[in-house]
Amino acid sequence: MASTIPAERGLRRVIGDDASIPDGEVDGLDDEGLLELYRSLVLLRTYDERSVIYHRQGRIGTYAIYWGHEAMQAGSFHALADDDWIFPSYRESAIGLLRGMPPATILSWWRGHPAGWWNPADYNVASICVPIATHVPHAAGLAWGKRLRGEDACAIAYFGDGATSEGAFHEGANFAAVMRAPAILFCSNNGWAISTPVSAQTRAQTLADKAIGYGIPSARVDGGDVLAVYEATRAAVARARAGEGPTFIEAVTYRAAPHATADDPSAYIDPERVEEARANECLGRYERYLRRHGLLDAELEQQLKAEAADVMRAGIAAAEAEPKPDLGLLFEHALVDPPASFQTDLAELRRILG
């Protein structure tokens, strides 16, 4: 029997606070790497803020806002290699951007347009999972498959604090551990599951404690500290590649935005905590870090933000320029060998809407 895995209580951080807490060291990222990470953060932030506007303008449907979650997404992403598979929830809908997926593709997904159906194998980014936690076993299985095939790649599944209450999370985590699957279970603990606080979700002291029961080592990190997230994920990836099995990462933040564009959190959320979270948000923290280290000035910041805004403008234009999808798509992909009813139904659909 392996000895008991120690419980981590504090939150790892690397980025200091301009005052009493000094910046820590981070391995694996040179100056260019640090700036790449910044570019990713800016791109994700810009995508999110623009998407909320596009939703209000009626150009995309209901949208799951991830404002303030960018450090968890970009920090973990930069620790991965291109071969590693990503299993996003709705909260990480735009993470494919970092793999070169065009914004128009993801915007199309939120527009309900088939141009948003990317081929997961093109990016090693699985389809967005909206049913809670049900993709955790998929990540475990894919990672296991990679091992069986002697490949080096691992899989990372993103899910929320609330997702750790689902059976699929527990069963998937246990499988990953038992099979020593090279998987990373990345929990974005933003304190809320719609209106339900994490305190009503579990009596565990930390979500990372849940992993201990499955024999899975874990890390707890400050989810607003992109470098701490990077470091923790890098270590998890190294474990996975070394054949040591899965790691659980609990990244902690406070949800500073509504659950989604359809949600009004005023009935349940603490406005002071939201203020605090907004003042301490991850992009600003990283910008201050980069400035302290002489890597970022106002000019570069403006340039990168303008670039990202241009990418988004082009993205929504491209999404809106997508031709109307062929009506046959409604049925074409439901089964490899469609039943006869598909043809008659399709003929009717073409007559009515075609």
């Binding site: 909206v130 997702a163 209106s195 979700q201 579990t202 009935a267 349940y268 009813s341 139904d345």
Partner: protein, 326 residues
């Protein structure tokens, strides 16, 4: 008679039961401060407190499973599954546990549990948040299945569900929540297994459930203008089913259309059709028509979603097809 929306009628039944009976409590995801994803339980936290209006972890299996446990020792829990699409995560508890405990204890254990859930298309959520699964549960001995279509029925039937000693899967339709209707001053429990004739007619019987009841009534209006007299029957409870009323109606009209929003294939209409062909075989003047959704995943695009699920026009077409047969 006061008017309530379907949503308020659900809340009224829950609140009255909870006021009168400490054994009744509700639990589900986001039902407390937020009042549920559809606002059904809004305000109930203030009246009944957090112990009886319980926000649960996101654990559909445990929501139903703990409901079973509480029901086993005499409570009358009403649990909510936010979207019926996520009943899938609690199937073991529903099918192998709730439905079997009574039998497997030689009738000594009862499970007076109500599982409320909602769903339905019409708001463009795509393939995983708008399905209609009522027919799955009609296939399970040991469950009761209810799907009311009016404020009065939802209130009276929910009361009966709470006080039924069996597990009851109680379907509400998302688009029905804002619909208003008169309800009696005093809540009158509505017994299971009693259909309601929503409109009398002579030429064809439309047996409709859920959202298709108001759609069928609209179709009946339009048919009347064409000189076709349509009877609309809402079984209200699918299990038990008021076969007698159904057969009597078709024996009178000699024609039958079934209508539900779930996909036609394997839908509840198939069961209704079997009941009718057996009970009214010699009376039928036309093949029974089934109206339901197209057999495909629901589309996100509103126009395609609307095409996939049936409406009054589809019922009217089916009615016309049956009367066109000599």
């Amino acid at each position: 008679m006061p008017e309530l929306t379907y949503r308020e009628a659900v809340r009224d039944a829950l609140s009255r039961a909870m006021r009168e009976d400490d054994d009744v409590f509700i639990m589900g995801e986001d039902i407390a401060e937020m009042g549920g994803s559809m606002g059904v339980t809004q305000g109930m936290l203030d009246e009944f407190g957090a112990e009886r209006v319980r926000n649960t972890p996101i654990s559909e299996m445990a929501i139903v499973g703990t409901g079973i446990g509480a029901a086993m020792q005499g409570m009358r829990p009403v649990v909510e599954i936010m979207y019926q699409d996520f009943l899938t995560l609690s199937m073991e508890q529903l099918v192998n546990q709730a439905a079997k405990h009574r039998t497997m204890s030689g009738g000594q254990l009862k499970v007076p549990l109500t599982i409320r859930t909602q769903g339905g298309a019409g708001w463009s959520p795509g393939a995983q948040h708008a399905q209609q699964f009522e027919s799955w549960f009609v296939h399970v001995p040991g469950l009761k299945v209810v799907f009311p279509s009016t404020p009065e029925d939802v209130r009276g039937l929910l009361w009966s569900a709470i006080y039924d000693d069996n597990p009851v899967v109680f379907f509400e339709h998302r688009l029905l929540y804002p619909l208003k209707g008169e309800v009696p001053d005093e809540l009158e429990p509505i017994p299971f297994g009693k259909a309601r004739i929503m409109r009398e007619g002579a030429d064809v019987t439309v047996i409709a459930i859920g959202r298709m009841v108001p759609e069928a009534l609209q179709a009946a209006e339009e048919a009347e203008a064409l000189g076709i007299s349509v009877e609309v029957l809402d079984p209200r409870t699918l299990l038990p089913l008021d076969e007698e009323a159904i057969i009597a109606s078709v024996q009178k009209t000699n024609r039958c259309v079934t209508a539900h929003e779930a996909v036609t294939r394997g839908g509840f209409g198939a069961e209704l059709t079997a009941v009718v062909q057996h009970g009214a075989f010699d009376h039928l003047d036309a093949p029974i028509e089934r109206v339901g959704a197209k057999f495909g995943p629901l589309a996100f695009a509103p126009a395609m979603e609307q095409w996939a699920v049936p409406h009054a026009a589809d019922v009217l077409e089916a009615v016309k097809r049956t009367v066109a047969r000599a």
